[in-house]
C-alpha cells in the first residue's frame, strides 16, 4: 500500500489529503491545474516538505512528521519524471542515463541499461546531446533515466503535457509497456482524461487541495456523484478479455469481466484470453425497452438501471447502468427518459454505438 497524509497551507492554497492507494500498478492523480496534484507528488518525493505529513511506500516510511522523520529526497528510492524532461545539458544522453544508475549499489540494480534503453526505444540516441533530441525523445530519456535508479516508486508529473499530440501518441505505447512489463508502482499526475483512461488502474480525483474520490478506475469513472460524469468526455472503462475473433468481418469479441456478455469491436486479430481496455462514452449509449435486432448497432447488452442524475446541461440526464457487474454510463435526453419511464431497477437494453479501444 501507499499511504500518504499531507497537510500544508500556503498563501491562497491549502492541501489536505489522505490517500491509501494500491502499492502496485498505476495510480492517476487527476484534477484541474491548481488542484494540488503536483504539490502532492513533490511532497511524496521530499522536494517539498509538508508541515504535517506521513508518507509510507509499502514497507518504507519516508516522512512521519509526528515522529520527526523526514528522509531527504536523495536517499528515497524513487524515480521522478518531470513535466519538461530536464535532462542535464552538460551531459550526453548516455551520461544522463548513467547519472542515477552509477549512484545505485550494484546489488540494488533491477533495471539495466540495455533493458531501459530497449524499453523506451532510445538505444540509437545514447551518443547524442540533449539539445539535439526532439521533445518526445528527451522525455523518453528522462523516463529511462528515472527507471535506471531501480525505484520502488515512480512519480510522473504530467510527463506528456509539454508535448504536442503527435509526440504524445509516440510516448504512450512506451508508458503502456512500462505498465505491463515492470513491477514498479507509479503515481501519475495528469489533467488529461484520455491518458488516465489508458494508463491508470486506480484513480484519485483531486480538487482544491482535497481528494474527492479514490478507487479503481472503472468504478470511479462511472460514479455519478463526481464531476467526472459531467462533460462530453464522461464514460466508463471496460477491461475485457478477448473471447473470439471473426476474421471475415474483422471483429473482436471482448468478454466483460465475470459475465457471459461480450461486446464486439473492430480490431486486428488478437489471441483469445488477452486483456484489452476500452472506453465507452456516455454519449455513445442509447437505451431501448426491447432488444431490437433490426439495427446497425452491433452491441446490445441487457442492463439494469441503477440511478439517475441531472447532467451539466438541462436537456440531458445521466443514467448509471449495471451490465452484469460492469458499470455503464448513458447520457440521454430528458425527453427520452420520460418516454421510457426510466426508474431504478428497470431492465433495459443498452445500445452501444461506439467503443474506443485504448490498449
Amino acid at each position: 500500500m501507499i499511504d500518504v497524509r499531507l497537510k500544508l497551507a500556503w498563501p491562497g492554497f491549502d492541501l489536505d489529503v489522505d490517500l491509501h492507494v494500491p502499492g502496485r500498478g498505476v495510480t492517476a492523480l487527476y484534477g484541474d491545474s491548481g488542484s494540488g496534484k503536483t504539490t502532492c507528488l513533490r511532497c511524496i518525493a521530499g522536494l517539498e516538505r509538508a508541515k504535517e505529513g506521513f508518507v509510507q511506500i509499502n514497507d518504507e516510511v519516508w516522512q512521519d512528521s509526528a515522529n520527526g522523520i523526514f528522509v531527504p529526497p536523495h536517499t528515497r528510492a524513487l524515480g521522478y519524471v518531470f513535466q519538461e524532461a530536464s535532462l542535464f545539458p552538460h551531459l550526453s544522453v548516455l551520461a544522463n542515463l548513467e547519472f542515477g544508475l552509477k549512484r545505485i549499489a550494484r546489488s540494488q540494480r533491477r533495471v539495466d541499461m540495455t533493458h531501459a534503453s530497449e524499453l523506451l526505444g532510445i538505444g540509437h540516441l545514447l551518443e547524442r546531446h540533449p539539445q539535439h533530441l526532439s521533445g518526445g525523445e528527451r522525455q523518453r530519456v528522462g523516463i529511462a533515466r528515472a527507471l535506471l535508479t531501480s525505484p520502488k516508486l515512480l512519480l510522473m508529473d504530467e510527463p506528456l503535457a509539454a508535448l504536442d499530440s503527435r509526440r504524445k501518441s509516440e510516448i504512450l505505447p512506451y508508458l503502456q509497456r512500462l505498465h505491463d512489463e515492470l513491477d514498479i508502482p507509479v503515481l501519475y499526475v495528469s489533467h488529461a482524461q484520455d491518458e488516465v483512461a489508458r494508463l491508470a488502474d486506480h484513480l484519485v480525483l483531486l480538487s482544491d487541495g482535497k481528494a474527492l474520490a479514490s478507487g479503481p478506475i472503472g468504478e470511479t469513472l462511472a460514479r455519478l456523484d463526481l464531476p467526472l460524469a459531467m462533460g462530453d468526455d464522461a464514460g466508463v472503462i471496460i477491461e475485457g478479455q478477448v473471447s473470439a475473433y471473426d476474421a471475415a468481418y474483422q471483429l473482436l469479441s471482448l468478454q466483460l469481466p465475470a459475465t457471459e456478455m461480450s461486446i464486439r469491436v473492430t480490431h486486428a486479430p488478437l489471441a483469445v484470453g488477452k486483456a484489452l481496455r476500452c472506453k465507452v462514452h456516455a454519449r455513445d449509449i442509447s437505451l431501448a425497452l426491447t432488444n431490437d435486432a433490426a439495427s446497425s448497432i452491433l452491441n446490445r447488452l441487457p442492463v439494469t438501471v441503477v440511478s439517475e442524475q441531472a447532467a451539466d446541461n438541462i436537456a440531458h440526464v445521466l443514467i448509471r447502468l449495471d451490465a452484469g457487474g460492469t458499470p455503464l454510463l448513458a447520457r440521454i435526453t430528458r425527453f427520452s427518459r420520460d418516454q421510457l419511464g426510466v426508474y431504478p431497477g428497470q431492465r433495459l437494453w443498452a445500445q452501444i454505438k461506439a467503443v474506443a479501444v485504448l490498449a
Binding site: 522536494l47 529526497p73 536523495h74 524513487l78 530536464s86 542535464f88 545539458p89 547519472f99 549512484r103
Partner: protein, 226 residues
Amino acid sequence: MSLTSADFAAIWLTLKLASLTTAILLVIGTPIALWLSRTSSWLRGPVGAIVALPLVLPPTVIGFYLLLALGPHGFLGQFTQWLGLGTLTFSFTGLVIGSVIYSLPFVVQPLQNAFSAIGTRPLEVAATLRANPWDTFFSVILPLARPGFITAAILGFAHTVGEFGVVLMIGGNIPDKTRVVSVQIYDHVEALEYAQAHWLSGAMLVFSFLVLLALYSSRKTRAGWS
C-alpha cells in the same frame, strides 16, 4: 630604453598578488554567491549590499578603514599581534587582504548570476537521481556554472591588477613587497620619468584590452537548459 629590473619586479609582484587574490576569492566567493542565489533569508539584502560596497566606495575609503583595522590599534592588528605575526599593514599579506575585499563583488556577482540562471530544477533532478548536496555541487552546479567561474576569475584578476588607491593606503610603496605596477607608474610620473611611465602604462593598456577581449569574445550564448 625599455623596462628596468624594478619595473619587472613590480610586474611580477602584481601578477603574484592578482593570482593569489583570484584564487582566494573563488574559494570564499563561491559559497557566498551560492548562498545569495538560493536563500530567502532577510540577510540576503544586507549581505548583498556589503559585498557590492567596493563597487561604489572610493578605494581610499576602503584603504583607510583597512589601515585602521590592520594597524597596531585596530582589532585585526591586535589579533595578528596576539598571534605573533606583527601587524599586516605595509606587507604583502596586508595587500592580499585589501585586494580580496576590493575585488570581492567582481567575483561574487558573476557567480551569483550563474547560480541563479541554473535555477532549482537541476538540483531537484540530481536529488531524485540519488546525488547528495556535495555530489550535486561538483557534478551539476560546477559544470553548469563554468562560464560564470571563467568570467569571475578574469574580472577578479583584472580588477586586482588595476587597483591603486587601496594599495597606496595600506601597502605603501615598498619594492618587492607592495610596489605593484600601478604604484610604480605613479613613481615614474612623480620623478618625471615619462618614458618609463609610457612603457608600463602601455603594457597595462594592452594587457587590460586583451583580457577584456578574451572575456567578451568567449561569451557565447550558453546551451539552453533542456
